[in-house]
């Protein structure tokens, strides 16, 4: 059995179903992220694991112990909140010591542990400061140290970075991951930010309307989304509506263009589908480039906008089908087109994700 097992967890708030038959196993030491839009039930699942909400149905087992109805103060689960939730009347060190003082731990040992935890979050010199004397990022690191000081079985983080600005957010994110690896602590992290989820997780659980939509490593979630919802929620996408013309050959008709996709399609001929393509998988070529051998997966395009994003250059182009977004990796020799230039786009068959219309 996995270290943390959620079985058919359901939560109703009156007539409102917040979580519906949620199933998940988390292995010891794993870093799992719940990703989904606001209101999809991420926080509710986390709060049930922490013990702040009682599931309407289902079972939660942690470390071979059924904790479904255990009070939160007996679960040995550390929690980090979006609003930091440091105790305003205590210094950083006393915040970290709070849980330790409730145990029978000797004072000297508490002091040593507090120092160790503050060092771990790189705040060794800030123990004497009150929360209002710390920046947001520092407060959240103290909150992390406080949650970890008791050496919990499980660490839960509910959008811990959402209140921070972009640069600090990335710093604290990397810090959380570094510390998680170092302590090998089993972690469940909640976010609505797909970039955050992709960068930090061993495994992502994409949630939609209170249930698991898809779970897997970031690479798999991003490259092999199994539903239109996952494809659209994770990363940027081009979507084109069309219908299947030859399922066995994997051919789809979009307006006046027929696209060759990678594999035979499970659809019947004539089925309405949406073809999705990641911007970085499309290729921009000049009008006179050789396109033989590309199975006709070529679209004429007019460049409409160019935005330089640093590592990539994002182009908006107009085609006979729909406007498309294309990402080109930046390099110094890059020959950028100008707005208004004619170009062609090639669509590699493996770049096409074909989804049945809902």
């Amino acid at each position: 059995m996995p270290f943390l097992q959620l079985s058919d967890i359901t939560k109703h708030f009156g007539a409102n179903v917040a979580v519906e038959r949620f199933n998940l196993g988390v292995e010891r030491g794993e870093f799992v992220t719940f990703l989904g839009p606001s209101g999809c039930g991420k926080t509710t699942v986390l709060r049930m694991v922490a013990g702040f909400e009682q599931p309407t149905a289902g079972q939660i087992v942690l470390n071979n112990r059924d904790i479904t109805t255990l009070p939160p103060n007996q679960r040995k689960i550390g929690m980090v909140f979006q609003s930091y939730a440091l105790f305003p009347h205590l210094t950083a060190a006393d915040n970290v010591a709070f849980g330790l003082k409730l145990t029978k731990m000797p004072t000297a040992e508490i002091k040593a542990r507090v120092a160790e935890m503050l060092d771990l979050v790189l705040l060794g010199k800030f123990g004497g400061r009150y929360p209002y004397q710390l920046s947001g990022g520092q407060q959240q690191r103290v909150a992390l140290a406080r949650a970890l000081a008791l050496q919990p079985d499980l660490l839960l983080l509910d959008e811990p970075l959402s209140a921070l600005d972009a640069k600090v957010r990335a710093e604290v994110r990397d810090e959380i991951r570094r510390i998680q690896r170092r302590l090998n602590i089993t972690t469940v992290f909640v976010t609505h930010d797909q970039e955050e989820a992709l960068s930090i997780s061993d495994r992502i659980v994409v949630m939609n309307q209170g249930a698991v939509e898809q779970e897997g490593p970031p690479f798999e979630i991003y490259n092999y989304p199994r539903t239109a919802f996952v494809a659209a929620f994770v990363g940027t996408l081009n979507r084109l509506a069309g219908h299947v013309v030859d399922a066995t050959q994997g051919r789809v008709r979009l307006g006046d263009v027929t696209l060759q996709t990678e594999a035979p399609l499970p659809h019947s001929d004539g089925a309405k589908v949406t073809v999705m393509m990641r911007p970085e998988e499309l290729r921009l070529i000049t009008v006179d480039a050789d396109v033989s051998g590309l199975n006709g997966n070529v679209l004429d395009a007019t460049v409409e906008a160019i935005s330089f994003l640093g590592a990539v250059v994002r182009l908006q182009v107009r085609t006979s089908l729909a406007p498309l977004t294309i990402d080109v990796f930046n390099e110094r020799q890059l020959q950028l087109p100008a707005v208004g230039d004619q170009r062609r786009i090639t669509v590699p068959p493996e770049a096409c994700l074909v989804m049945t219309d809902a």
Binding site: G51, F52, P72, N73, S83, F87, P88, H89, R146, L150
Partner: protein
């Protein structure tokens, strides 16, 4: 032009207000210093402070005030906290209930208390101790609007839910949460509630009078009927006490504790 005139008017009103307040005060102070003919002196104060009846009634009221404060803090902090945490919908109802002491005259309250608790099975008015229990219960009710509001405002200033959950996840029991997280963050609120309660109890007349307890209020009435200068001195003294209490509230609200409450 317009703003000048407004400020002229506001000055006028401020001065009138100050006169309304300070002239009688000054009169009282002046009078209290003239007990000896043709001489300014503190004789009235000396007489009051050395009167054993004053000392004992003040000591009694002081005791009652301290116990009242302890009881109402013990009663209201957990109650209002729980309402914030679990029963927020009840808040308007509770707010209305806490206003009842303003609506129901104290005289009605004291007759209600006596009629109910002097009978079997309570028989509280038979002994001084039992009567003091009634008296304190009455004081707690009288100071309820202030204590409730002070605690309520204090709780609004902190994130009650998240702090509670943070403490629970760190292994705290419910008493731990209240004593180690909620109360320390309500220091200023509790203190200001306590000081207003103190002022209420020290100056209260009707409850103590009808329950026949030797409190400061009835003493002041008696001395006010019998003497001329001493009541004035007493009035000034109790003003001084109230102002000292206000000053303390201000001082604590502005200190470190206050900053922790307002800056989050």
């Amino acid at each position: 032009m317009k703003t000048r005139r407004t400020s002229w008017w506001s000055w006028l009103w401020a001065i009138l207000g100050a006169l309304y307040f300070f002239v009688p005060m000054y009169g009282t102070l002046d009078f209290s210093l003239k007990m000896e003919r043709d001489k300014i002196g503190l004789l009235a104060y000396e007489t009051v402070l050395s009167d054993p009846a004053f000392v004992s009634s003040f000591a009694f009221s002081l005791q009652m005030a301290v116990i009242t404060i302890l009881v109402s803090v013990a009663l209201f902090v957990p109650t209002v906290y729980w309402i914030h945490l679990r029963l927020p919908k009840l808040r308007p109802v509770v707010e209305l209930i806490t206003l009842l002491p303003f609506i129901i005259p104290t005289i009605v309250l004291v007759f209600g208390l006596i009629r109910t608790f002097s009978r079997r099975p309570f028989l509280l008015t038979l002994t001084p101790l039992g009567t003091d229990v009634l008296l304190i219960a009455g004081y707690v009710i009288l100071s309820m609007p202030y204590m409730y509001r002070a605690v309520d405002v204090g709780l609004r200033a902190i994130d009650v839910h998240t702090l509670t959950e943070a403490a629970l996840s760190l292994g705290a029991s419910w008493p731990d949460v209240i004593l180690r997280v909620i109360v320390p963050n309500l220091r200023v609120a509790i203190l200001s509630g306590a000081l207003i309660t103190f002022a209420t109890v020290i100056g209260e007349l009707i409850l103590a009078d009808f329950l026949v307890r030797p409190a400061l209020g009835p003493y002041m009435v008696v001395i006010g009927e019998a003497r001329a200068y001493e009541p004035a001195a007493l009035g000034i003294l109790s003003f001084g006490l109230t102002w000292a209490a206000m000053g303390l509230i201000q001082y604590f609200a502005r200190g470190d504790a206050g900053r922790q409450l307002t800056v989050r």
